[in-house]
Amino acid sequence: MNMINMKDFLKGSGFIQPIWVFVIVITVFFSFMSEYFLSIGNLGNILVQTSTIGLIALGMTFVMINGNIDLSVGAVLGLAASLSVGLQDYGITIAVIAALASGLVLGAINGLIVWKTGVNAFIVTLGAMIGVRGLIFVYTEEQSFYATNFAFSDFGAASIGPFPVLALIFLVCTLVMHLVLKKTGHGRNTFAVGGNPEAALDAGIRIGRHMMINFIIVGFFAALAGVLLATQMGAATPNLGRDYELWTITAVVLGGTKLTGGFGSITGTLGGVLAIGILRNGMNLMQVPAFYVLVILGLILISVLIIDQRLNVHASKGVSI
């Protein structure tokens, strides 16, 4: 492999994305370090553990390719989890529908504000992150809810054959969102708006609507992740989902999506999510304290940023002193 190919490969323009090489390397590493790592049961575990952050990351990828960011996903997740458990007196179906609807509505509100007022998405969703957490506390009155209907928590532990249902839901959603991004007009326009909003506007793309649709998508996935997390625990606490926005953004950035918009992929995001999940799971199996994972993730994130910058140095070279 000569130098140019190597560069193309690391830039992610080749067939395999660099994050997947990383995923393969740590998989091999942990399978040597722990005999339990490569068992079917543990791989299913990893997928279930990552499904929460993974589902949100799918939506976040769309929003970030679009050139925006959503900091409110953790709070939306918490609200949906509380609603899906707290409304079970009206039946599980209604509770779950209400929870998912709350995600759609909050996403739509965020998107509408970003579209109509022109306020930076970072500020809009920072406000929503604080405010939606307030909504959770108003609704729950600081109480944790427990699911009394076991059909709800059984769903979180169910599996079809050897495959856990939650993992299957995550994988199916990943496939669907990959196709939406690659094969539909909305996906193409999302790239166009993120790459150059003014050019997209001149080309007749309705940039506001695409932004709003993407915020609705991420709101829906955050709510879905909240409901599924609640089924796993059979309960919901008002502080559920704090810091999830940080983990999600970390996963998406690891997967190669640019914060500036216009570049990214669902396959990369899947790699980023799996990298975090495998690191956590593998280090748990090696009995490394969970604290070290935080440091290692921070270091990996900075390394990815440095490698990315060194490779794209000609594209982004400004004046330097």
């Binding site: 809009v124 920072l126 957490r133 909504l135 070290y292 440091v295």
Partner: protein, 336 residues
């Protein structure tokens, strides 16, 4: 004829006066809003405007305020700092834990040195290596939180003998009837505000944040400027940790969690643009105090503490929106 001229002049003068008033309202809108809030709360609660209550609010707001002063400089320089929350945990745990081991003076010095070193790492990565500040400080947020947990082993720390240590003065002391945290906040804010307004250093930071390329062509050492903003931010965090550690005389591992967002909320509310090149410490103080007084006012009116988060949601977006609408002379964007 004379009367017509006079009339014209009167109309012009009137117009000028009106425009001046509108300009004042749009430039100082947040201050006007602040005064209206204070007035409204004072109607419903007698204690609200009492001297003791005002001092309590300012004292409560001073920790967030001290950090916000530093982060404002980073933002004016065109970058973000999300790592201040974790750094606050780090510094507070460090100073409280070392207090009993090597004495208060040593603990304070060591805490300042180590906190400034974290700031220097931020500054190196963002100033000299030109990495995206949002992601770098996000990574540092996670890494520094991990360091705190590794250092403390997941246990909370506290100071054994709380009654006779002079360390208490930073959080609990009073000088001339004013709480020390408030004095520290005021002194820091004045120094930084004067530095930003009246020195060439301040002008350089504004230039770097406003147009980095132009700043570099004017001979400003951009990398050093950005680097220095992160040192200032770290220094402010260390001061806040001094106050927090001394007031509580103990610390949880994640005591600073979420502070970065409260700080940002105060800065945005004050009207400092996240794009860099504009803003002031003065505005940030107003923003932080508004959040403090709204929290206090809602509590005095008997609402639970979390209602302030809903109010914060609305006013942050409203404040930025109205500012934007004023600039483009239109309430809504026109694109579809």
């Amino acid at each position: 004829m004379a009367s017509i001229e006079q009339g014209k002049q009167a109309i012009l003068l009137n117009k000028k006066y009106k425009e001046g008033l509108l300009n004042f309202l749009s430039a100082q809108g947040i201050l006007v809003f602040f005064l209206i809030c204070m007035f409204a709360f004072s109607l419903f609660s007698e204690q609200f405007l009492s001297q003791s209550n005002i001092m309590t609010v300012v004292r409560q707001a001073s920790i967030i305020g001290i950090i916000a002063v530093g982060v404002t400089i980073v933002i004016i320089g065109g970058n973000l700092d999300l790592s201040v929350g974790s750094m606050l945990s780090f510094s507070t745990v460090l100073v409280v834990d070392l207090h009993d081991k090597i004495g208060p003076a040593g603990a304070i010095v060591l805490m300042f040195v180590l906190t400034l070193m974290i700031g220097a790492v931020n500054g190196l990565l963002i100033g000299f290596m030109r990495l995206n500040s949002l992601i770098v400080t996000l990574a540092m947020l996670s890494a520094v939180q991990g360091l705190v947990l590794i250092y403390s082993g997941g246990k909370n720390v506290d100071i054994a003998n709380q009654s006779d240590t002079w360390f208490a003065i930073f959080g609990r002391g009073y000088v001339l009837g004013i709480a020390v945290p408030v004095i520290l906040f005021a002194v820091l804010a004045i120094i930084v505000q004067v530095g930003m307004s009246y020195t060439s250093y301040g002008r350089r930071i504004f230039a770097v944040g406003g147009n980095p390329a132009a700043a570099v062509y004017s001979g400003i050492r951009r990398n050093w400027c950005v680097f220095s903003t992160y040192l200032i931010s770290a220094f402010c965090v260390a001061c806040a940790a001094l106050v927090l550690g001394s007031r509580v005389m103990g610390s949880q591992n994640n005591v600073g969690q979420g502070y970065e967002l409260l700080v940002l909320a105060g800065i945005i509310l004050g009207g400092t643009s996240l794009l860099g090149g504009a803003g002031s410490v003065w505005k940030t103080i107003i923003g932080v105090l508004i959040l403090g007084f709204i929290q206090n006012g809602l509590l005095l009116l008997g609402y639970p503490y979390y209602t302030q988060w809903l109010v914060t949601w609305v006013i942050i977006i409203l404040a930025v929106w109205l500012d934007l609408a004023n600039k483009r002379k239109r309430l809504f964007t026109t694109h579809s």
